[in-house]
């Protein structure tokens, strides 16, 4: 999403952003394909309980310091709207 700001960013900031993302994935050892597979399975589990748009589920791996966390986000429908 910071692609649209890229024009204004220094190459130093671009490098930093890219490294944060790459290292987060490296540290967990999850290749892109596995991550997508996990995303689909998580989306399937959520949809068992709540009606959701499974394509809107996003998984992100983020690293801060040496701790890495997995973030799953999914828009949930308001009760009765689904």
């Amino acid at each position: 999403m910071w692609n649209m700001f890229r024009g204004k960013q220094s190459s130093r900031e671009v490098a930093k952003g890219r490294l944060h993302l790459v290292l987060a994935h490296d540290r967990v050892g999850l290749e892109g394909g596995k991550l997508q597979e996990m995303r689909r399975e998580i989306a399937a589990v959520i949809s068992k309980y709540v009606p959701i748009d499974v394509d809107a589920v996003e998984v992100q791996i983020e690293s801060k310091s040496r701790a890495t966390e997995l973030r799953v986000s999914s828009p949930l429908p308001a009760r009765g709207s689904g």
Partner: protein, 267 residues
């Protein structure tokens, strides 16, 4: 009892060998005894960077195979009272040495010398495993580039898994490029790798000339890189030296900040 420190990086060409050579010379200048081990079996280089390539008789593989004692294989650096080199072999396979061999050899050297610095080969395979086997601590060398930092991070993870305490040297940093916004600063690298910084060595043409001559830069005088290597040597042996300054924040920049002029590129 001495202390063994492995100098490693993951990526090749970031200055491991130059760093090993200069830290060894810097610590020897402080009056402590130092053995440098070239752990890059089959691709030896520390000898030629040190300028000791013409004096090799035995090497590390001869020692682990019992063809000679460690003492006999050590080459004494004539420029410094307390510095020795144990060269790698140039012909053997890297499997000629095992982690156990290295542990035994380093334990033996630590009994007689204050510091054993191990110059690790690039990569994370057998040569790396050998090089870190006997180390009490590690120094990771990284240049402020995405490829170097990515590989350094892999190595940091592997060292952590072996419970080897690890500190960082940022090598070949250019204050000019950092200020322009075209190079990661030392604090960027520290933030990304989450390691304690030992020092940041500036990009310095004197190092190229020193290496050409086979002379450790720290023995040649007062170039910026030589001064930083000397300072890192002091920190490595536990001497209390001044904290590292941020590159790019020179005297005038600091005055400017004190007067309230802020630079858009300030670190």
């Amino acid at each position: 009892m001495g202390r063994a420190i492995v100098i490693t990086s993951g990526k090749g060409g970031v200055g491991k060998t130059t760093t090993t050579c200069n830290l060894g010379a810097a610590i020897a200048q402080l009056g402590m005894s130092v053995v440098l081990i070239d752990a890059d079996i089959g691709l030896r280089n520390l000898d030629v960077v040190m300028g000791l390539e013409n004096r090799i008789v035995y090497h590390v593989v001869d020692v682990v195979q019992g063809k000679c004692t460690a003492q006999k294989a050590l080459i004494k650096d004539r420029r410094l009272e307390n510095l020795w080199l144990l060269p790698a072999s140039q012909t053997d396979d890297k499997d000629a040495v095992t982690p156990d061999d290295m542990r035994k050899l380093i334990a033996e050297l630590k009994a007689s010398y204050d510091y054993v610095l191990i110059d690790c080969p690039a990569g994370i395979e057998q040569g790396f495993k050998n090089a870190i086997a006997g180390a009490d601590e590690a120094v990771v060398v990284a240049t402020p580039e995405v490829s170097s930092i990515r590989d350094a991070d892999r190595v940091v993870g592997l060292l952590a898994a072996k419970d080897i305490p690890t500190r960082l040297i940022v090598n070949r940093i250019s204050a000019h490029l950092v200020k322009k916004g075209d190079m990661l600063s030392q604090s960027d690298v520290i933030e990304i790798l989450a390691l304690e910084l030992l020092g940041a060595v500036p990009l310095d043409e004197h190092v190229v000339a020193s290496t050409n001559k086979g002379m450790p830069a720290v023995l040649e005088g007062k170039s910026a890189a030589a001064r930083e290597f000397a300072r890192i040597g002091k920190r490595l042996v536990g001497l209390d030296v001044e904290a590292v300054h941020e590159t790019g924040g020179g005297f005038f920049a600091r005055i400017g900040r004190a007067l309230g002029f802020s630079s858009a590129n300030a670190a």
